[in-house]
Amino acid sequence: MTDKNTTEYLERLKSVSMPSSVKARMRDELSSYADFHAPAAATSTKTSFGPNYFFDLLSRNMGVALVVLLLIGTGSVSLFADRLLTGGVPQSPAVDGPDADTLDAVAPMYMEIESPSAEPSAAPALMYSKSTEAGSADTKMVPRMQSAEQLPLLIRIQDAEDRIARAKSALAQSSALSGEDKAEYVARLDSAAKLIADAHALAANGSQSIETQEHAESLLEQGLTLTILVEDSTGI
């Protein structure tokens, strides 16, 4: 029998599938499970614009809301936005009309609310640099974003490494498992540790691409899953 015939022989297994009724039932149960175990990030960032939204906003951020109200009331929103985009520093030509005084009075208040310790001319320029033309502010922004992106991943990788070390220690001390079982679980933790070490190597690379970053995230995820499965199985 040739290789081709052998593979065709094995491919007969492709015809095996779950009955439709079982699939439908399983899908319903998984759907309910997903509803019940809603993702924390999604629910915490969920925003609704219901009838109480405005009052919720007021209660949560009273200071900023009052400034917004004041600006809307005096018709100065667009002028104020112009000043922010240029760095919050009065650089535009003198504003005609009665709103200029209000604007000058409100702008310092806004700066205090947003960033009490920041230098008024520097911080907003960096924050809004992407909305303005490309320039030195943009080039300054890049390394700050990179370090902010890498840090959580590296911390999570470190946490995972600590977690594996703790799991190994607990396994070694466990009296409920046989030596053979312990060896098997330790081997699985070693596999997890290797995945996470690979993720660490990728994440520590300063010139990583988005794909590399995603690969590191994926490796970390797989390593963590292996670790969690061992923890669940052994009760450690």
Partner: protein, 173 residues
């Protein structure tokens, strides 16, 4: 780093999850069925696999290798089940035979074919059985299988080749 899932609301994340289920449920079921020879158990393990997958998704994890990740979860669940139950080994279960009547999955002819293939590969080592399934039934490439098994691509290719030879020998006998 901003996680794309963070910006997915519950509804879109759930839709994505259910699409993943629709795409891979048969593959995971076959995987569990070949490894356990037990239809009900394979169904339970398939469902449990997707529940674990949802837990990872809802934790905001991004999956770049969804299928490999699902097989990894399923494989560990199969191993854990056997360990917890302290039951017979996979080989012993295979010796007991696979009852096609129990599956109620296919036509009589298809069931007979499935039983024949399963009995042919029953004596193979678990990893050999697994790589044959993943390579020739599920269509994974050696690189994906290597990622799952934490082996090199060459090692997986050699394993596939040797497992194939064993099947050929059995078919000639």
């Amino acid at each position: 780093m901003d996680d794309p899932n963070r910006f997915m609301n519950q509804s879109s994340l759930k839709i994505s999850f259910l699409e993943t289920f629709d795409t891979y449920n048969d593959a995971i079921f076959r995987f569990c069925l070949v490894k356990t020879s037990n239809k009900e158990l394979a169904e339970d393990l398939t469902q449990e696999t997707f529940m674990r997958y949802w837990q990872s998704l809802s934790d905001g994890k991004e999956m770049s290798h969804t299928r490999s990740f699902l097989y990894t979860i399923a494989n560990n669940l199969v191993i854990d089940w056997y360990r917890k139950k302290k039951s017979a080994s996979l080989d012993a279960l295979s010796d007991e035979g696979f009852d096609p009547e129990d599956t109620q999955l296919l036509s009589v002819q298809k069931q007979a074919e499935f039983e024949e293939v399963l009995s042919t590969i029953a004596d193979l080592e678990e990893k050999d059985k697994e790589v044959l399934l993943l390579r020739f039934v599920e269509g994974l490439n050696p690189r994906d299988i290597a990622l799952m098994h934490d082996e090199t691509v060459n090692a997986v290719s050699v394993r596939i080749s040797r497992a194939l030879e064993k099947v050929q020998k059995k078919l000639h006998v």
